[in-house]
Structures are given as structure tokens and as C-alpha cells.
Amino acid sequence: MSCEAPLDHAYLTSYWLGELPPDQEELIEQHLLSCSDCSSALEQIVAMDRGIRKLARTGELRVIVSQAFLERLSAEGLRVRQYAPPAGGSVACTVTSRDDLLMARLAADLRDAGQVDLIVCDAAGAERGRLRDIPVSLVANEVILNEPMHIARALPVSTHILKLVSAQDQSEQVLAEYVFQHTPSDS
């Protein structure tokens, strides 16, 4: 027999993350101990949690992160290579076999920018990829991009331009751009 009153996934997630008051937590726990369906649903949330943790730790996700995220990686003993060219500037960069994660730190004040896209261009300025409507922090004047290691490690000598653009009403305005001069590492 399946559960006639299954617990909502959002509610189960809040339970797993410890966001519920103790009385609600108690009701959920009694239900979970009596219900294989909802218990299995929570198992899936836990598995998703663990999977996302593993992926984040391997550096294989292209994702905008926070300073607190970087500090957590360092606290776990992971080696994080970071490049922070100034807006309008360039930086020579590489990635070695000893690095666990690679971050591009793009300084910019984006508080009033509206929707912001991050565009990846080649040396000629041609668009090669775009992250649409990236999350923008109101407390940090920068965008921190976690770049997948398997992509970075496969790059030849090459130039990449990252652009932050304000995308409004089918028009866009370049807010800042950053040049990365990549050279593969021997180590």
C-alpha cells in the first residue's frame, strides 16, 4: 500500500536541512518511521545532497559561488587556484595537476545591473558560451566562477575573454570584461 498522505518534497527538504520548528520535526519523524514511501523520498533527497557535495568538491561544475564556498573548500584541504584580473585587464593563467578547483574572480559592482549574463568569448571576441541570468551578490562586489577542471586541463595555449553584460529588453550592455591568457602546465 502506498502512502495516502505523502509528505511534500519541499517540506521534506526543509526537514532535512533543519529548517523546521521542533514540533513539526517531531510529526515528520513519526510519519517517516511509519512510512516506507516517505522514508524513501527522504533517502532520495539525502542522496541528491551527497551527490551535489561530491560534484562540488571535484570542481567539475560550472557554477557561480560565494567567498564562503571557497573558504569551505580550503578548510577541507582542497587546493583552489584563483585568478582575479581587474575589470578591463588581463591575467596569465594555467592549471596544474595538483589543483583541485579553478576560480575566476571578476570584480564588478552589479547592484543596479538587473539581469546579468556572463559570456565566454574567444580571442577574436566571438561568443562561445553564455551563462544567462547569473546570481549576483549584493554583498560582494565580484562574481566568482567555478570553472570545470576537465575543460581547463584540456585547453591549449589560448586566450579567453569573459564579459559581464547587463541584459535588458533584448539589448545588452557590456559592464566589464576580463582577458585570460591560458598556458597549459607541465605539472
Binding site: 500500500m1 502506498s2 502512502c3 495516502e4 498522505a5 505523502p6 518534497h9 519541499a10 527538504t13 526543509s14 526537514y15 532535512w16 536541512l17 529548517e19 510529526l27 519523524e29 513519526q30 510519519h31 517517516l32 518511521l33 511509519s34 512510512c35 516506507s36 514511501d37 516517505c38 522514508s39 527522504l42 533517502e43 532520495q44 533527497i45 539525502v46 542522496a47 541528491m48 545532497d49 551527497r50 551527490g51 551535489i52 557535495r53 560534484l55 562540488a56 568538491r57 567539475e60 561544475l61 557554477v63 557561480i64 559561488v65 560565494s66 564562503a68 564556498f69 569551505r72 551563462l131 544567462r132 541570468d133 547569473i134 546570481p135 549576483v136 551578490s137 549584493l138 554583498v139 560582494a140
Partner: protein, 198 residues
């Protein structure tokens, strides 16, 4: 007895329509102590993963959670044998109360699994491994790549960095309820992409 207090303390005000273990419990309770080994083993098989999950939530440690499951189920089966839990619908409350006490003991370092095993191992069913659900990481990576940027960031900050909804909301300049909506939307997309939508 502590177990009796726990049974009385927790009311059965919970939806138990999906509680399918009543018949098993009645057969164990009706048999002389140790006289229903197959039913005890079956009850153990069904409840142990649920108790282990409670342990993972509160102890954040798989081995400690497995110890908790073993400990709590041994006490539960002993209570059933001794007729201290006669109403099957009271069992979830009893198990929850026992879980709570055991978690406190584990945190204090006062619970010794070996001690309990020595006491009951010959009579009660043997526990086999309680494997956690594994996820296909390649598939998950593929599904994560397909998420909108905002959802991917919220999920990573929430699950990897253990940031609270409030911390993520502060970082992104959103309300906590907005962050929860984004998180829920992201998880729903992931579940669908992974093929496990309920």
C-alpha cells in the same frame, strides 16, 4: 521504565495510514518471547533503514547511524517481546523516543554498540549492511549543467556549504522564501532529469 514513559509521552497524532507493520507487530506480541523470529527479522528489515535515516539526519555520520539503527531496533524488539508495546500504532512513537535517547547517548559517547550486541545477539535477528541510496554522479552532473544558473548556485551553496536559507538569501539579496522556491524548483528539475519524480 523509560520505554513506557516514551510510549505514553508521544501521542499518536500523526498520519499512520501508511503504517503497514501492524500485523507483524501483533504476531510478535502474541508469540512467546523469541517465538516469532521470522516476523522479528521482517520488522527489523523494514524499520532499520528508516531509523538509520533518522540517525543520518541527527548524527551526520553513516557509521554512527548504522549503530543507532542496530541499537534502537534491538530495544524495540525487546520491548515487543516483553509486551511493553501492545498497541501497534504506538510503535512509531516508541521508536522515535528510543531514537532520541540513543542519539543523546551517542553524542555523549555513552552508547556502546558492542555491549548491546553481546546481550542480545544470540536471540535477535542478525543485521546485515544497510546501504544508503547511491546516485549516478555522471547523470547528476549532466542534470546540474542543465539547471538555470541561479538554481545551480543555490543548490551548491545549500548542500555543499551547508549554508542556511538565510545565508544564501543574504548572499543573493533575495528573501528566504525566494531562496526556498528556487531550491525547490531546482530539486524538482533534478529529480525529473534523474528520472525519479514522485
Amino acid at each position: 521504565m523509560l520505554e513506557s514513559v516514551l510510549v505514553e509521552h508521544f501521542s499518536a497524532s500523526v498520519d499512520l495510514t501508511c503504517f503497514n507493520e501492524r500485523e507483524l507487530i501483533e504476531r510478535i506480541s502474541a508469540a512467546p518471547a523469541g517465538g516469532a523470529p521470522e516476523e522479528e527479522a521482517e520488522l527489523y528489515r523494514r524499520l532499520a533503514p528508516r531509523v538509520r535515516l533518522y540517525g543520518v539526519k541527527h548524527l551526520r555520520d553513516d557509521e554512527a547511524a548504522a549503530d543507532l539503527a542496530q541499537h534502537v531496533l534491538l530495544i524495540t524488539l525487546q520491548a515487543l517481546r516483553q509486551g511493553r508495546v501492545r498497541d501497534p500504532d504506538k510503535l512509531p512513537s516508541f521508536v522515535l523516543g528510543t531514537c532520541r535517547m540513543a542519539v543523546l547517548d551517542i553524542r555523549r559517547g555513552a552508547l556502546r554498540r558492542e555491549r548491546l550486541l553481546e546481550q542480545f545477539a544470540r536471540e535477535l535477528p542478525r543485521v546485515t549492511a544497510l546501504p544508503a541510496v547511491e546516485i549516478d554522479l555522471d547523470r547528476l552532473a549532466h542534470c546540474m549543467e542543465r539547471l538555470p544558473e541561479r538554481e545551480r548556485t543555490v543548490l551548491v551553496l545549500t548542500f555543499y556549504d551547508d549554508q542556511t536559507g538565510e545565508e544564501v538569501a543574504t548572499f543573493l539579496g533575495l528573501s528566504q522564501s525566494n531562496v526556498r522556491v528556487i531550491r525547490h524548483r531546482g530539486l524538482t528539475r533534478l529529480r525529473t532529469c534523474m528520472g525519479g519524480a514522485r
